[in-house]
Each structure stands twice: as structure tokens, then as C-alpha cells.
């Protein structure tokens, strides 16, 4: 290899490699910096939803898991989603595709209320 070639190989190559690595490792551009998760969970126990207010980003699938020893349901007050009755250890999932506030309650024990805030 000539000196010139060595120089190219020695300098250009690492630069090219560096650029390639840089591009490969760059974080994807995100339109917002809200706490985002593809999945989120609400635990049902002691006749309550926990957390009572859950903040998620658009596209998140929320899963309610019943850890109580009594069956419950998850019913949106605006008719957006409605679970079948969920006994202990059963779950219900819903994917929120639109931003908004979604209050819900247990139709069997209506004092149990919660809401999902989708941003």
C-alpha cells in the first residue's frame, strides 16, 4: 500500500466508520418528551384502581389486572371501552389511539373510579 493509500485508509476509514456509527446510534426524533411506554398497567385491588390517574402517551396499551378477591369491571363513562367481568388474576387491555382524558369506573362497584390521561 502506498503512503497515500495508507493515509486514506488510516484517516478516511475511521471517519467513515465514525460517521456510520454516529448515524446508527442516533436517537430517533421524538415529537414530545412525555413519559411514554408502549404498555402500562393499572392494578385493581381493595376496591380501587391503582394508580387512580394514569398518564400515558398515544398508542399505549393499558392493561388492568385484578388482584382483588372480588370480580370487577372496567367501563369507560363515555362508552369508549368496556371489559367483561374480570375475576381475580384476570385482565383487560385497551390501546389508546387518541389523546384525551378517559374517566372509567367499575360497573359492579360504581364507587370505584379512575381515569387515563392520554397525551
Amino acid at each position: 500500500m502506498t503512503k497515500k493509500h495508507v493515509w486514506v485508509a488510516g484517516v478516511v476509514t475511521p471517519v467513515v466508520i465514525a460517521i456510520v456509527l454516529l448515524l446508527a446510534g442516533s436517537p430517533s426524533v421524538s415529537a414530545n418528551d412525555q413519559p411514554s411506554a408502549a404498555n402500562a398497567e393499572v392494578k385493581i385491588d381493595n376496591f380501587s384502581f391503582g394508580p387512580e390517574t394514569l398518564k400515558v402517551s398515544v398508542g399505549t396499551t393499558v392493561t388492568w389486572i385484578n388482584r382483588d378477591d372480588i370480580p370487577h369491571t372496567v367501563v369507560s363513562t363515555d362508552g369508549v371501552f368496556k371489559s367483561k367481568v374480570r375475576d381475580t388474576d384476570e385482565q383487560f387491555s385497551y390501546t389508546f389511539t387518541k389523546a384525551g382524558t378517559y374517566p372509567y369506573f367499575c360497573s359492579v362497584h360504581p364507587k370505584m373510579t379512575g381515569k387515563v390521561v392520554v397525551q
Binding site: 378477591d69 372480588i70 363513562t77 359492579v108 362497584h109
Partner: protein, 345 residues
């Protein structure tokens, strides 16, 4: 009234705080297991009759008829609080069948099943078939509304009823009204009767003589016991306004799996124990729900004495009898005072 009875009544009166409920006594008494409530009408005035063995000899003396209330059988429930709710329901039926004075019918105040499953209703029917009283009246609990908003319950137990399962009937001069307050519940609310049912109720009671004894029965208590846990009915005030003019009104409820009683004017309210599992007294636990008690307490009975005052001369007295109890006492008088108690066994 004998002196002894008067003493007992006086003693009970001292136990009351302002709202007529002896909370200390109540909290002491988490009677487990099922209960049977026996009513007897004597000459049109309801009197209590003991359900337990000791008082059997008095049963039926001059009484026109009696009936039994059972509640909250929750067939299908199988958690630690009671892993065989079918057996305890059976025990309640056995106790009814062993009564020397046969009740004319049974009223089940709801939560027949745990999850409204056909198999659960099947099992319930099998056990109830063994009852000596062949006529059984039902109202649904919220656990019976889980299959298509109560469609299956209506198919099986709602013949001849209206709307979500309400109805009325007359028996030997007493007017019975079965109400449904577990349908179309609103977020953040308690029990609810709804406009249509209230209109029907008003119409149903219209024109009846005020001397007709009225018995209302519904799953969730028709008076507000503990709103935080949903123990009350949002629109019961309107329903109660329709019965205000009657001389004798009794409301029989379930849902809370413990005995609570209250008298408001001429209306006497009473909630029954469950045949499946107890629940905590209001505010004594993080939430309502099945309360596990030590195995030896399942057999033992804790006693409570509640005194109901009725302003009018008519009084409906109730005797609650735990399944495993050996002795329970109850007494009532037609003179405006009713005492019901079950002693510690």
C-alpha cells in the same frame, strides 16, 4: 311485658348512640355464616319468632304466617373467606327445614351467584330445591347482573317481573315489593332504583290502605349506611316518600353481609347476614369485601343486640340466627318496640 324483658330492653337502650345503632356492640359482633330471618304475623301485626331451636315451641302461636330471608349466597365464590359457599347455603336450608314452624316462603335478597354463570345458578337451584318452602322470591344483586346486564338472571328468576326485575305481590294482607337497585349504576354512585322503577312503585302503592303492612326488599340497603363503600341507594328517598303514609313499613336488604338495623318513623330497615362470608364493619378495613375470620370463629357466634323503635304501635321484629349458633333470642311486641338479638354461642 315482664320485668325481665323490660330490663333487657332498658339495657339495650343504654347501648345506643344517637342514631340508634350500637356501633360498639356491632363491631364486636362479626357473626359469620348465614342467617335466617323469621317473621310472623299475628292478627295483622308482625311479631318476631325465634329461628333457633330454643324458641321453636312459641312459633306459630297465633301467627298467621312466617317467612325467611336469606341473602348473598355468592355461589361460585371460592376464596379463603369461605371455600365452600354451597355447603353453608345448604346449612341455611337445613336450618329452615328443621324449623318447627314452616315458613310460607323464602325471600333471597340477591347476589345469588358470584359471577352470574349458568353453572352457579344451577347449583343454587339444586340447593334451594331441598327447601321445605317451595315458593322462593328473588331480587338480583350486582353479582347477578354480570351476564348481559342481568339478562340471564331475568330469564331464570325474573318471570312476571318488570324492567330489570322488579315486582310486587300480596300475601295474607301484607304487600311485598321486590326492588332492583343494582342495574345501570353510575360512576361514583351507590345503588340506584331509576326513574322507571320509581314511577312504577308510586303507581303500585297508589290506592292501597295505609293500614296495609308493606315489606320492601332489595339487594343494596335502602338507607345510607356507608357511602364510601357504596352502601346505600342514591334515589331511595323518593321511594321512601311513597311509603311514608303507611302504618307499617319494613325494608329488607342484603349486600353488606352483616346485620344492620335502623328505624326512621314508621319504616324499619334491616340488612341480613350472608350465607357465604362476612364483610368488615364500615371503615374498619381498607375496603369492603370478603372478611376472613379464624376457623374457630366460623363455628362460634358473636352476638349483637339492635333495638328498633317504631313511633307507631305496629312493629316488625326480626330475629337473626347464625348457622352454628345454639341459642339465639329475640322478642318483639306490638307496642312500638322491637328487639332482636343473637347471643354469643
Amino acid at each position: 311485658m315482664t320485668d325481665k324483658k323490660q330490663d333487657l330492653i332498658d339495657q339495650n337502650l343504654q347501648d345506643l348512640n344517637n342514631d340508634g345503632v350500637d356501633r360498639r356492640g356491632f363491631l364486636k359482633c362479626m357473626a359469620w355464616a348465614g342467617t335466617g330471618l323469621v317473621w310472623t304475623l299475628t292478627g295483622g301485626i308482625p311479631m318476631s319468632r325465634a329461628f333457633a331451636k330454643g324458641h321453636g315451641k312459641d312459633a306459630g302461636k297465633g301467627g298467621d304466617f312466617s317467612f325467611v330471608q336469606i341473602s348473598d349466597s355468592h355461589i361460585g365464590f371460592n376464596k379463603p373467606a369461605n371455600q365452600d359457599v354451597t355447603a353453608t347455603l345448604q346449612k341455611a336450608i337445613d336450618k329452615i327445614n328443621a324449623m318447627p314452624h314452616k315458613p310460607d316462603f323464602i325471600i333471597h335478597t340477591g347476589d345469588l351467584s358470584q359471577l352470574s354463570k349458568p353453572s352457579e345458578f344451577d347449583t343454587l337451584d339444586q340447593v334451594l330445591k331441598e327447601a321445605s318452602a317451595k315458593q322462593i322470591y328473588f331480587v338480583p344483586g350486582e353479582h347477578d347482573m354480570l351476564a348481559d346486564n342481568g339478562e340471564l338472571y331475568l330469564q331464570r328468576y325474573g318471570k312476571g317481573t318488570k324492567g330489570t326485575g322488579w315486582y310486587s305481590f300480596d300475601h295474607k294482607g301484607v304487600h311485598f315489593v321486590g326492588l332492583v337497585n343494582v342495574a345501570n349504576l353510575k360512576a361514583g354512585g351507590m345503588g340506584s332504583l331509576g326513574h322507571e322503577q320509581l314511577e312504577w312503585l308510586e303507581d303500585d302503592l297508589k290506592g292501597r290502605s295505609a293500614s296495609t303492612p308493606i315489606v320492601l326488599f332489595a339487594h343494596i340497603p335502602l338507607w345510607t349506611i356507608y357511602p364510601e363503600w357504596g352502601w346505600g341507594t342514591d334515589d331511595s328517598e323518593q321511594a321512601l316518600s311513597y311509603v311514608k303514609r303507611f302504618g307499617s313499613v319494613t325494608a329488607l336488604n342484603g349486600h353488606i353481609h352483616q346485620i344492620m338495623q335502623k328505624v326512621e318513623g314508621k319504616i324499619s330497615f334491616h340488612t341480613a347476614m350472608s350465607t357465604a362470608f362476612p364483610q368488615p364493619a364500615p371503615g374498619t378495613a381498607p375496603s369492603a369485601g370478603p372478611l376472613k375470620v379464624p376457623a374457630d370463629q366460623l363455628q362460634r357466634v358473636l352476638g349483637i343486640t339492635d333495638v328498633n323503635y317504631l313511633v307507631s304501635g305496629r312493629s316488625l321484629a326480626v330475629v337473626d340466627s347464625p348457622l352454628g349458633d345454639t341459642g339465639s333470642t329475640g322478642s318483639g311486641s306490638g307496642r312500638g318496640l322491637a328487639v332482636s338479638d343473637a347471643t354469643v354461642g
